[in-house]
């Protein structure tokens, strides 16, 4: 098990490193000069050349990469070009706010997805199951920005129950106000993914319920409750965990959309801002952080998978 964790950690490090190369490469292959961006449209050629020298933009690419990468290792993300402040704290603060959004959403998705999936599998073919199935397909098929807009129209503009946009720190307006800003983004983020996860849980649960070991458990005289929770569920959860890990990627994409629509000051909106304003250090830093978060989420999923699956925990046949 220790070797397994070690190997997985190594691969996370390798993925994040490969991403730094990729991000750096893409940014520096893009047309346009950094100095030009900083000084604006009307800068003289002379001023640009001076700034390029000062920033080391004429050095070979590998040296520039090394400078950026080694600073990254020290936790230095460079200076934001547009805000003229260190990018690191900006990213960190936005990351914290996005993490709240993502964390609540993913927990909600996992719990709700499993509960609904198990429920429809046990009641297979019933009216409930059929209604759930239709709802699941509707939520999988329609993208989240539609629900974002619908939610704003319904709950913010028409009913006026919740604020449409913005964010209040917990210290300023109390827990309730802080939470009121989270409800709509979390709900719209979680809806589609819950549908997706519950669909997967349903099919893997059905497979487990049709398996011979479940039949064998019934033949042993186990009551239905034990058959369900001890025999079927642990096996049905394995594919669900894999799907959850993949959905973290979808969630990150969804957060960018939701934060933009709800004007929520998280990492997604920061990234959009950085791209729109060609703030390269902010953009590169943000992308690395997103990659690292995704890789770590997958690591957690892998470890959870191994924990539930003795085949991985104990290797091959004895």
């Amino acid at each position: 098990m220790a070797g397994f964790v070690g190997r997985r950690l190594l691969s996370v490090v390798a993925i994040v490193w490969a991403m730094t190369v990729l991000v750096f490469g893409i940014v520096h292959l893009l047309p346009g000069s950094v100095a030009h961006m900083i000084l604006g449209e009307f800068a003289t050629a002379d001023a640009i050349a001076t700034l390029e020298r000062r920033l080391g933009l004429n050095d070979p690419l590998w040296l520039q990469y090394w400078r950026w990468f080694s600073a990254l290792l020290r936790g230095d993300f460079g200076l934001s070009l547009t805000m003229d402040r260190p990018a690191g704290p900006l990213i960190l603060e936005a990351l914290g706010r996005s993490a709240i959004l993502a964390g609540i959403s993913i927990v909600l998705v996992a719990l709700l997805g499993m509960a609904l999936g198990i429920h429809s599998a046990v009641k297979r073919g019933s009216v409930e199951d059929q209604v759930l199935t239709i709802a699941q397909y509707v939520f999988i098929a329609i993208p989240e920005f539609f629900w974002c807009i619908l939610a704003i129209l319904l709950f913010a503009s028409w009913l006026g129950w919740l604020p449409a946009t913005g964010y209040t720190p917990m210290g300023e307006g109390g827990v309730l106000r802080w939470a009121s800003h989270l409800v709509l983004p979390v709900a719209t983020l979680a809806l589609g993914l819950t549908a997706h996860v519950s669909r997967m849980v349903r099919s893997s649960m059905l497979e487990a319920l049709d398996s011979h070991y479940v039949l064998a458990a019934r033949a042993k005289g186990m009551p239905e409750r034990v058959v369900l929770w001890r025999h079927a569920l642990p096996n049905a959860l394995l594919p669900a965990i894999t799907v959850l890990a993949i959905d973290v990627g979808l969630l990150i994409g969804g957060i960018v959309v939701a934060e933009t629509v709800f004007s929520y000051p998280g990492l997604g909106r920061l990234l959009i801002y950085a791209i729109e304003n060609q703030d390269l250090p902010l953009m590169m830093g943000g992308m690395i952080v997103v990659t690292a978060a995704y890789a770590l989420a997958n690591l957690v999923a892998d470890l959870l998978y191994a924990l539930l699956n003795p085949r991985i925990r104990y290797g091959g046949a004895a």
Partner: protein, 680 residues
């Protein structure tokens, strides 16, 4: 004074309502079983054997409609009490131990579960008892097996664990659904011994579902023959197997290829298939397939006593012992001499598989390159197949026989060794002409036929691919192929799901024959089929050999099938051929000790479980580490000593063409008594 039977079922019927009408899985089935006795339940797949077992457990499936005059277990009504009895007083053993054990639970937890539940034992007591149970069913190191997960055990050990679970609460009745079908023959013999001991020592009553009449003969006191949901014959097992009366029972027995009979010419398949169970037939439902049917058979038939058993056939007495038509005109074939010119010569073929991937591993705090483990699936194997000859290849699962079959077709590249076909060397990427002349038939027709292709498309493609025929000529060729495998021309428009297993396998054979090959590898080509269908396909294969002069490499784990069809036999153990020779040479002494064990493990019909001598191997083939010496040495009952572990065995030649790789001197090998009863 009649003792109350342990299990007493009267007039049990089971229906599954469906859109096309109810499927009548069981109709008026009655049986009764006393303590300590074993009743066999035989019939083709679809005859209702498993439905009956599940109905007894109270688990007939959703929507099932059950109806019975009486269904009693020790005086208790199973219709109400089954749920309380199963796992406690009725134990169940399933066919495939691989899927019957929960992969996410330890063996100990699964064996102990019923103890905690039904006997209210504490968890620790139950685990201790589980270890004791595992020891009792013959698992060594039970204390560590208790903590193991199913994937860490071999197939035989898993089935022992399943049996231990079924025995946990000391049940009085054990239901066994094909308990050894998924196991190798040497492991099967171990499990049968175990069941026999349980019956004798514990007085457990057993209901044994099996398609293997040899196993039934070995273990059962009584026998019930089911056909399409009805009991057609019922009585003492020895009586029924020695002198069956119902045409169906007689057909089943005549269709089995038998290891102890050798090449007996043609088998007698039962023509046709099971009737449509949604259409009730008040008369004898076997009559469309029966050789002795008369118009009067359309009247309802009763299960009536005759010759000390019950038979559901009003003609049984009249027909008496008249031979089955398929068997009558079958004189042993003239001794065919396959030509001596070898068609295919394999020399020193070797294939090694890497288990897992190379990678980095933390060892002692340092990163080190981890070399993956290696498995020599095929190790230095040489043999030849002559024109028109059938070389049978036997061995247990994992011995490398399928790998070898694919290697001689170059479907799988060899790491070393040479291959010659018709005098020409065959390279790793063979010419189109070799592909045309050497074909393969796979085990499972369900996965080897493309579900989206009609029969015609499947058969036309090789014709086009090898430029043999197109247009109207291809049409005629498809017809010829269908005729060759005895299927009507109307089948050309069918998709695989519209055919039965036997019909699909015939299409698989027709597809292999489309390119007019000289050599066909049959990889367990009849293993998935019912005996009646298997007999038809075996007859077809031997006819094709005689008509077209085909040569086969016939791979099978079933020694009966091999003995029936093969001219020569090669016995494989862990990647190497340990013995090769003509069928007569291999099936009679001198034997390789492994061949001896393999043959003596085969349960034969007619031996009544009184086989003179059994050689029992312990463990299974997978538990043996690779060493420099004989790979069979760790399990060998005739092991001499250290020399077997360290020195590769020499090849002995008791007769020209008969080779045995063993350290024992020839005189000792020749002195081994026959292992097959009256050997061929």
């Amino acid at each position: 004074m009649a003792e109350q039977p342990l299990l007493d079922v009267r007039d049990l019927s089971l229906r599954y309502p469906g859109p096309r009408g109810a499927v009548r899985a069981l109709e008026g089935v009655s049986l009764s079983l006393s303590r300590g006795r074993v009743m066999g339940l035989v019939g083709e797949s679809g005859s209702g054997k498993s439905s009956l077992v599940m109905a007894l457990l109270g688990l007939p499936g959703t929507g099932a409609v059950l109806d019975a005059a009486s269904m009693q277990f020790d005086g208790l009504d199973l219709r109400q009490q089954a749920a309380a009895l199963r796992g406690r007083r009725i134990g169940m053993v399933f066919q495939d131990p691989g899927s019957a054990l929960n992969p996410a639970m330890t063996i100990g937890a699964q064996v102990a579960e019923p103890l905690v539940r039904h006997l209210r034992m504490s968890r620790q007591d139950a685990l201790d008892r589980a270890a004791a149970l595992l020891t009792e069913v013959g698992i060594a190191r039970a204390e560590s097996v208790v903590r193991a997960y199913p994937h860490q055990l071999s197939g035989g050990m898993k089935q022992r664990a399943v049996i231990a679970t079924a025995l946990a609460c000391e049940p009085e009745l054990l239901l066994l659904d094909e308990p050894t079908t998924a196991l190798d023959v040497t492991v099967e013999a171990q499990i049968l011994d175990l069941l026999d001991r349980l019956r004798r020592e514990r007085g457990v009553g057993m209901l044994l579902v099996s398609h293997n009449l040899g196993i039934v003969d070995r273990l059962c006191d009584d026998l019930t023959v089911l056909y399409a949901g009805r009991v057609v014959e019922q009585g003492a097992a020895a009586t029924l197997l020695a002198a069956p009366r119902h045409p169906y029972t007689r057909g089943l027995l005549a269709a089995v290829p038998r290891a102890d009979r050798g090449r007996m010419g043609r088998l007698a398949p039962i023509p046709g298939g099971l009737p449509d169970l949604t259409r009730p037939d008040p008369g004898c439902n076997f009559r469309p397939r029966c050789a002795f049917a008369l118009p009067s058979c359309a009247a309802p038939q009763a299960l009536a006593p005759q010759d000390g058993r019950l038979v559901r056939c009003h003609r049984a007495e009249a027909v008496g012992l008249a031979p089955l038509p398929g068997v009558t005109g079958a004189p042993p074939p003239p001794p065919r001499r396959p030509s001596d010119a070898p068609l295919l010569i394999a020399t020193e073929l070797t294939k090694t598989f890497r288990l897992g991937r190379p990678g980095l591993a933390l060892r002692g705090g340092r990163l080190a390159l981890r070399r993956p483990a290696e498995l020599r699936a095929v190790d230095d194997v040489s043999f030849h197949v002559a024109r028109g000859e059938v070389l049978g290849l036997v061995g247990e699962s994992g011995c490398g026989k399928s790998t070898l079959g694919r290697m001689v077709l170059r479907l799988l590249g060899a790491d070393a060794g040479r291959l010659r076909f018709d005098g020409q060397p065959v390279t790793d990427r063979p010419a189109v002409e070799f592909r045309r002349r050497a074909q393969i038939v796979f085990q499972n027709p369900n996965s080897s036929l493309n579900p989206r292709q009609t029969v015609e498309q499947a058969l036309r493609w090789p014709l086009v691919r090898f430029g043999l025929a197109r247009g109207a000529a291809a049409d005629r060729e498809v017809d010829r192929l269908l005729e060759l495998v005895r299927l009507p021309s109307s089948y050309r428009a069918r998709y695989p799901h519209q055919m039965s297993g036997g019909e699909k396998q015939r299409i698989g054979i027709a597809r292999a024959l489309a390119s007019r090959p000289d050599f066909v590898v049959c990889d367990e080509a009849v293993s998935a089929l019912d005996v009646s269908v298997q007999a038809a396909v075996l007859n077809l294969l031997s006819d094709l050999r005689d008509e077209l002069g085909l040569a086969y490499l016939f791979i099978s784990h079933d020694i009966g099938v091999i003995a029936h069809l093969a001219d020569r036999i090669a016995v494989m153990y862990r990647g190497a051929i340990v013995e090769i020779g003509t069928a007569e040479q291999v099936l009679s002494p001198a034997y390789h000790p492994y061949t001896e064990a393999l043959l003596s493990a085969v349960p034969l019909v007619g031996s009544g479980g009184r086989a003179a001598r059994r050689v029992r191997l312990t463990g299974d083939a997978s538990a043996v580490p690779d060493g420099a010496g004989c790979r069979f040495a760790p399990r060998c009952p005739r092991r001499i000593g250290g020399v077997c572990d360290t020195v590769p065995p020499p090849v002995r030649q008791p007769a020209p063409g008969h080779r045995i790789a063993c350290h024992l001197p020839l005189e000792t090998l020749a002195a081994i008594p026959p292992a097959l009863g009256e050997a061929a």
